[in-house]
């Protein structure tokens, strides 16, 4: 049992994360200040919500690269609409509308994937361009800084604030609650519902899932609608935290999010992955990129370091799996008990 826990990718990432925190904290004690951690939480929120969506898709054996386009589309379009109707209400309505738009766009993905059985990468590559092109051409491409009041105030919605010894007031932003909520929701769905298990089953063997009687199309509709929902939500949080709606933003981050998810143990070939692993993967990548600045490493090198970590992090389990496979050739032993008498 202990061996199994130790050999998990989640453990590996967790230990690496801990070691990284200790090292950075040793080099630059600012790392352990609440301000830095609130900053980290803020940075990890949007990536984390995206990553949970990516996790669900990866487990099912698919891949989605359109979620960033969905996010920016939903966020920007919501802002434009709210501005036009002069909406004066709170942020909740923005989240609702943005997530709704996200679900609709996700359903477009699901339609092509479930109805025509097209490869998920091809479909989402196509819709990524489609959503983004439509947004820039039809809805608008200018950066909107004159936000509706509800959205403009959101960046100040802290859960609580603390004032440190130097008299600087820092706060933990409430957006992190969304990440916590999404993570718990995803965990419950994946682990304790038949729907969640059908996602694992689909990723393990599509044929076996069909033979068992799973409705693959339903499962896929859920998956891509869910990703759309999370993308719409995360896009709106992103816009709110940055106090602007930029139609050129977000798209381009999708591979980083996928990489963080894979680093957290999700299998790119489907069937494997966990919420906790994904959160650890996202945290590791976030801590790393935030802290490289604290450690005084030039920002040009950041991408090199992150790339290297991702390659090493995913190569280690792959090599281990290869070794285990080679050993299995000679260690096969049936666990048959003798016949009951």
């Amino acid at each position: 049992m202990l061996k199994r826990i130790l050999s998990r990718q989640e453990t590996l990432v967790g230990v690496t994360l801990l070691a990284l925190c200790l090292t950075i904290g040793f080099i630059n004690p600012v790392f352990w200040t609440p301000g830095n951690w609130f900053d980290l939480a803020r940075s990890a929120t949007v990536t984390g919500i995206f990553a949970i969506g990516v996790l669900v898709v990866l487990i099912s054996g698919g891949i989605d690269v359109s979620f960033t386009a969905i996010a920016v589309f939903a966020m920007y379009t919501t802002t434009v609409i709210m501005n036009n109707i002069g909406f004066g209400g709170g942020m909740f309505a923005f989240f609702l509308m943005s997530a709704g738009i996200g679900v609709v766009l996700g359903l477009i993905n699901a339609f092509f994937i479930a109805r025509f059985r097209l490869p998920t990468l091809i479909v989402t590559l196509g819709t990524q361009s489609l959503f983004r092109g439509f947004l820039l051409f039809v809805i608008g491409s200018k950066i909107i800084r004159d936000l509706p009041p509800g959205m403009a105030e959101y960046s100040g919605a802290f859960l609580f604030t603390v004032t440190d010894s130097r008299g600087i007031t820092v706060g933990l932003h409430s957006a992190v609650l969304f990440l916590v909520g999404v993570a718990i929701l995803a965990q419950i769905i994946l682990r304790y519902t038949m729907l969640g298990r059908s996602i694992y089953a689909l990723g393990g063997s599509r044929e076996a899932a069909e033979r068992a009687g799973f409705n693959i199309a339903h499962t896929q509709v859920f998956i891509y609608a869910f990703v759309g929902l999370l993308a719409g939500l995360a896009g709106m949080i992103y816009g709110g935290l940055n106090r602007q709606a930029n139609a050129q933003d977000i798209v381009g981050q999708e591979l980083d999010v996928i990489a963080a998810t894979v680093l957290g143990g999700a299998s790119i070939t489907g069937g494997r992955g966990s919420v906790i692993g994904t959160l650890l993967g996202v945290t590791l990548v976030t801590v790393l990129s935030n802290s490289l600045i604290l450690m005084g490493i030039p920002s040009i090198w950041q991408r090199v370091v992150i790339g290297a970590i991702i390659i090493i992090g995913t190569a280690v389990p792959a090599i281990r799996a290869l070794r285990a496979g080679r050993r299995a050739n000679v260690e096969i032993e049936p666990v048959l008990a003798e016949q009951r008498s």
């Binding site: 063997s205 076996a208 899932a209 009687g213 069937g271 285990a324 000679v330 096969i332 016949q339």
Partner: protein, 517 residues
């Protein structure tokens, strides 16, 4: 434990038929797949369905499972007559098919694999893991098997995967389990264990419809045997009235007299000589010589090192010590390229994943090894040479296809194996290693493959046959090397050992063979 333990059927099992098929006929695009087939299966009965590829076996299974609808005839299950049987009806009535690939989820645990389909069919929406474990454990107890519940199915052996599939069927209240070619990937010992499980299941009143090519298994496990040929029932009878030669005759429709390989010893220099070859953890101190025209059998249980030895001779697995001599000269077989350079050909155990490009055409598969010789001056490929070579081998090995441009997966097992052979023979090897040459091949094809192998040896090729099919080894080989725990446990010249003796020696190792070191 080779004798069939006959079960005195309990009184309540003598009851009415569980499944009755009356005069079933089915044709596909004008081809009569099944013609007036009737079948009765009683509770607790082991019924074997035997037939060559294309005989209509799989169509019959699909009809019973409700996947295919017959053109005429009716199906009665549990006294209920079905005009149109849907897959869900079949499942609800307790019919479970275990397909050759098991349809398991490699990424899920043993427990979940056993319980998942059941929970799905019961419309369970919330998964309670305690319940999952309980369902799985109950099923495992029922067949008297111990398996770790929390291990992913991916990491367990083929034999254990099969047990998981059986448990999954039982959980769904199976009354009839159909097993399609259940033993193809199993070793002798695992087959014994499977048969014990099947008898346990029978005791519970569950009927088993067992589809197999392997005649000795059929004779061992079946209560009743139905043989179909070209869509018609040839015979449907108690197993007691059959023996191997009758079975073969009914299956193929011809009386096949197989003559054992007539090897005449020579004093020619060995083609291949192996001296004290060792590979740590795989095999140790192996020595033998292979002369031109010899067919040397290598047998042993799974894990005895037989496949590893073959892989070392083909340069896949590195050796730690010992010598390989080819034509009396020390040869360094470091990798596959150098093995090929020395004239060694290897037909792998699993032709589907290692031997063939299934989606590529038959002709491309045949010429792949020799494509660089079929060129015109200037290095361009000569289509006419390619076609000539393909035609030659299709004819030589009588590969049954009407168009060599069809994908290799369109062929039956026996014909696929011929394509793998043709690929190697085209490169004119002098030493041929055949690993399980007739696994999953039907009786008629098997005999034809045996003829091909014998003819190759007569032409002076040295052949190594790795197999745990004892009758096959005794028929083909002039010498048989028995391996156990990575070592040579005995060498037998063919006329001096009987089938019973060799089987006994093979299964002697009571614990699973495991290489020392």
């Amino acid at each position: 434990m080779t004798g069939r333990a006959s079960l005195p059927a309990p009184q309540h099992l003598m009851a009415d038929a569980f499944l009755t098929l009356n005069h079933i006929s089915k044709s596909f695009a004008g081809v009569q797949a099944l013609d007036d087939v009737s079948l009765v299966v009683k509770p607790g009965e082991a019924h074997c369905l035997v037939g060559e590829n294309g005989s209509g076996k799989s169509t019959l299974i699909k009809i019973i499972a409700g996947v295919v609808t017959p053109d005429s005839g009716d199906i009665v299950i549990n006294g209920r007559s079905f005009q149109r049987l849907y897959p869900m009806d079949a499942i609800r009535e307790g019919i479970q098919v275990i397909y050759q690939d098991f349809s398991l989820f490699p990424n899920l645990t043993v427990a979940e694999n056993i319980a998942l389909n059941y929970q799905l069919s019961r419309n369970v929406r919330v998964v309670r893991w305690g319940q999952v474990h309980q369902i799985a454990q109950t099923a495992l107890d029922k067949i008297g098997v111990r398996l770790p519940l929390d291990v992913e199915v991916e990491s367990i052996s083929v034999a254990d995967k099969q047990l998981v599939a059986i448990c999954r069927a039982l959980v769904q209240n199976a009354r009839l389990i159909i097993m399609d070619e259940a033993t193809t990937a199993l070793t002798e010992k695992e087959i014994r264990a499977l048969f014990r499980v099947i008898r346990n299941v029978q005791q519970e009143g569950v009927a088993v419809l067992f589809v197999s090519h392997k005649l000795n298994e059929v004779l061992e496990i079946a209560d009743k045997v139905m043989i179909i040929r070209n869509g018609r029932v040839v015979v449907d009878t108690d197993v007691a009235s059959l023996d191997r030669s009758k079975l073969t005759y009914y299956m193929t429709g011809r009386q096949i007299e197989e003559a054992d390989y007539d090897y005449r010893p020579t004093n020619e220099q060995p083609l291949l000589e192996v001296r004290h070859l060792s590979s740590r953890g795989n095999f140790e101190d192996i020595s033998f010589a292979l002369r031109p025209g010899e067919i040397l059998g290598i047998t042993g249980l799974l894990g005895s090192g037989r496949t590893e030895l073959a892989l070392s001779l083909f340069g896949v697995l590195p050796v730690d010590s010992g010598e390989i001599l080819i034509d009396g000269q020390p040869a360094h077989v470091r990798d596959i390229q150098s093995a090929i350079h020395h004239g060694i050909g290897y037909v792998p155990e699993d032709r589907l994943t290692e031997g063939l490009f299934l989606d590529q055409s038959i002709s491309r598969n045949i010429v792949i090894r020799t494509i660089d010789t079929l060129t015109r001056p200037g290095g361009l490929l000569s289509i006419s040479q390619v076609n000539r070579q393909v035609r030659y081998w299709v004819e030589q090995l009588s590969i049954k296809t009407h168009d060599p441009e069809l994908p290799a997966k369109s062929l039956s097992g026996g014909n696929q194996q011929r394509v793998v052979l043709a690929k190697w023979l085209a490169s004119k090897p002098r030493i041929l290693i055949l690993n399980g040459p007739t696994v999953g091949v039907d009786v008629g094809s098997k005999m034809e493959l045996h003829e091909i192998i014998k003819n190759l040896a007569r032409e002076g090729i040295g052949i190594l046959v790795i197999s745990d099919d004892i009758p096959e080894l005794l028929h083909l080989c002039n010498r048989i090397l028995l391996m156990r725990r990575g070592r040579v446990a005995g060498v037998f010249d063919r006329p001096e050992i009987t089938e019973a003796e060799l089987t006994a020696r093979l299964t002697e190792a009571t614990s699973m063979a495991r290489p020392a070191g």
